[in-house]
């Protein structure tokens, strides 16, 4: 009982225990803030990655598989599945208006169904907006005005088509078009506070940014897409090039995607890759031989059948959210079951159910998620290691306090306090400091985490210090997520560190000879 009384008195009457509590508070706050930011960063990355991947993907790369309409029908009739969409995933070259040619990931999609599965519609950038984005103080965002134009672009983006109007045809006609990642063209420069002002920009000779007011890519620009069709044995046939108008641009928040991905209308890409529905012909007559020995053609051909259209992927979205990887795995198991039935119905015409690749969003993003998780673990480890200084700070402060309180320890022993009682006093004191420090640390961390962007903004405004540059990190806001489980772990760690720091001084106090302690000057 005297431990409680003395702990209370020691806590309120000395500056040293306050310093120990402050050390614990700062260390716990530091770890909580780091864990929250890294955790938030991971969640944001995962959500961004999931945005364009669906929950589960069925894939047969390069050559693709047929009868996907039947597969989608079977998938969508399952009660656990909300939607499914076909997709072709390949690589190609894009020729840009400024003469550059870049390698890109080209995905052929059916806009409306792809949007249902992946949320594609939500990330189309050029759309009418009613109020400026959070940091657009000067209202520079072009999307705030000319809503009719952006409305057309949004519609065009969703359907991957450019609507071309004329006086003769005011309703307009649709031309197959592409939707580029916002960083593909190189014309969109993001401001340090995280949004694209709207006017396309280019870099001048001395590196300064200049607006390009001649054209705007999604309004009147076009790009040339080059893809390489393959035959059924995976052999390249001949590069196919086609010029597409740009319908819109998308902003997923993941730079690798925004910089390297181009969406094109599914049917257009099927045509280019020779994956469209085609007739099978048979020679029923002779062969006409030309002067060129490499060229020959049938003189009379007969249609003998049809080759169905193919896609490389079918993306699936579950009815329930599958952020938890176990839920995603359960959905993938169900999808695999449905594919088995589908493969049995089309035996010999589609890839076997044992060889088809069925992956969850987590499997597809495993490299990225794994890297960020490892980075989070490493950063946490380093910060926890740094936080071990709290143990040594408490130890040093307690060591000094035990020395200062030597005579009190002698008095307590003289009035009957046992060695374990004296040790208990200091450990209890450590516990109290750990609790107080951890609680203060939590309040501090909570204040920082919930106001991290305001603090960052203030630092930028008054100290010209931008730690989180969205041009580098690709999220305009510093992500943070305070996980109650993590908070409890860190707080317990803070209390434990304080108790650990108190152990050695407590043992020293317990071992003191009471007579020598009473004589201590």
């Amino acid at each position: 009982m005297y431990q409680l009384l003395l702990t209370k008195r020691y806590l309120s009457s000395k500056i040293m225990p306050l310093l120990a509590a402050l050390a614990v508070a700062l260390c716990t706050a530091m770890v909580i803030v780091v864990w929250s930011v890294m955790g938030g960063f991971l969640v944001m990355l995962i959500n961004s990655g999931r945005t364009l991947a669906g929950d589960v993907s069925i894939s047969w790369p390069i050559t693709g598989f047929a009868y996907y309409d039947d597969l989608i029908k079977r998938l969508e009739s399952d009660p656990t599945i909300a939607a499914a969409t076909p997709m072709i995933d390949t690589y190609g070259l894009i020729g840009l208006p400024d003469g550059r040619t870049e390698t890109v990931q080209v995905q052929g999609i059916d806009g409306p169904s792809f949007s249902r599965v992946t949320g594609f519609g939500d990330i189309l950038y050029w759309r009418p907006i009613d109020r400026p984005t959070e940091k657009d103080i000067g209202k520079q965002d072009l999307r705030l005005t000319r809503h009719d134009l952006w409305g057309d672009l949004l519609k065009g983006g969703l359907n991957l088509a450019r609507i071309e109007r004329s006086k003769a045809n005011p309703q307009g006609t649709e031309r197959p078009a592409v939707v580029l990642g916002i960083s593909v063209s190189g014309f969109n420069f993001r401001e340090p506070w995280g949004f694209f002002p709207g006017l396309p920009m280019i870099r001048g000779e001395s590196g300064e940014k200049k607006p390009v007011d001649i054209f705007m890519l999604p309004v009147d620009g076009s790009v040339t897409l080059n893809v390489l069709p393959m035959d059924s044995k995976g052999r390249a046939i001949e590069m196919v090039a086609r010029t597409f108008p740009v319908a819109n641009e998308f902003y997923s928040g993941l730079y690798e995607i925004d910089r390297k991905r181009v969406f094109v209308q599914l049917k257009a890409l099927q045509d280019m890759l020779k994956m469209n529905r085609a007739v099978k012909i048979e020679n029923t007559g002779g062969v006409k031989v030309s002067a060129n020995p490499d060229e020959e053609s049938f003189t009379s051909a007969k249609v003998v059948g049809e080759s169905p259209a193919r896609v490389t992927n079918v993306l699936v979205r579950g009815k329930q959210d599958v952020f938890d990887t176990r839920d995603a795995d359960a959905l993938a198991t169900r999808v695999a079951q449905i594919y088995r039935e589908f493969a049995a119905a089309h035996e010999g015409q589609v890839p076997d159910s044992t060889t088809i690749r069925i992956q969850t969003w987590a499997d597809q993003n495993a490299t990225m998620i794994g890297a960020v998780k490892k980075e989070t673990a490493l950063v946490l480890f380093i910060f926890c290691f740094v936080s071990l200084t709290a143990v040594f700070l408490v130890l040093a402060i307690f060591w000094a306090m035990v020395s200062e309180k030597t005579r009190d320890i002698g008095v307590l022993r003289a009035i009957g306090a046992s060695r374990s009682g004296i040790a208990g006093l200091w450990v209890f004191y450590g516990l109290a400091i750990g609790l107080a420090g951890s609680l203060v640390g939590f309040v501090l961390a909570y204040s920082v985490v919930t106001n991290i962007n305001a603090i960052h903004e203030w630092m930028g405004q008054y100290l010209k210090l931008y730690i989180w540059d969205p041009r580098v990190y690709y999220f305009s806001r510093i992500p943070s997520q305070l996980d109650p489980g993590h908070v409890v772990i860190v707080l317990l760690g803070g209390v434990l560190a304080s108790c650990l720091g108190a152990l050695w001084p407590a043992a020293r106090a317990a071992r003191m000879n009471p007579v020598e302690a009473l004589r201590f000057e």
Partner: protein, 254 residues
Amino acid sequence: MTAVAPPKASPLATSASDGPILHAQNLRKTYKLGRIKVPVLRGVDLQIRTGQSIAVLGASGSGKSTLLHLLGGLDHADKPSADAPPPSILFKGTDLLKASTRTLDTFRRRRVGFVFQFYHLLPELSVLQNVTVAAMAATGAFEYWANRSAIRTRAMKLLERVGLGHRIMHRPAELSGGERQRVAIARALINEPDLLLADEPTGNLDRNTGASILDLFSDLHRSGQTMVVVTHDESTASRCDRIVRLVDGRVQNS
């Protein structure tokens, strides 16, 4: 007085109403100063009967405080040697020199009360808390919690008896030397000890204040308190029933 903490059944609880409450024999204590051994006690015998007040008188360095610490279970005597009879401190039949650390802790909690020359109050605690802290150390948390009201009442009565009933919330730093010693006496008495051990209780006080403290000791003795007072002052010693003179680490009975 209110019985606060009834003695638990322990080896120290043996009744010895007619015999000596404490009987020390052949106590030797040697300190080491580097490589040199300095014998302080060279075979001290001492018998204390219930209700008796004994003054241990001697010059500075004669081993008075060391003897008091041995009697109070705070220090250990030298181990027995082949050329000397074995030492013992029998308290109500239990040899403290052979007792376990736990038994000695219990002995200090329940059976003895210490009063030191420099008071040794805990500076962070109030007067009242300095007295009750000894009761806290003597009882478990639950026992203290159950009896806290009775303990507080007893502490208040003791503080009133030593003339400090009006200063219970003051800190030691706000008290005079005499007042601090009175608090120390109240603290020593809170657990109703069988034996009060005082080490130069007036050594740090002026004559008048010292006299008032000695009056308090006399008053306690008259009420039946057994006590040993260590002093180098003849007049202080003369107030006790018996004077034990320590000379060169040995007892010279007067």
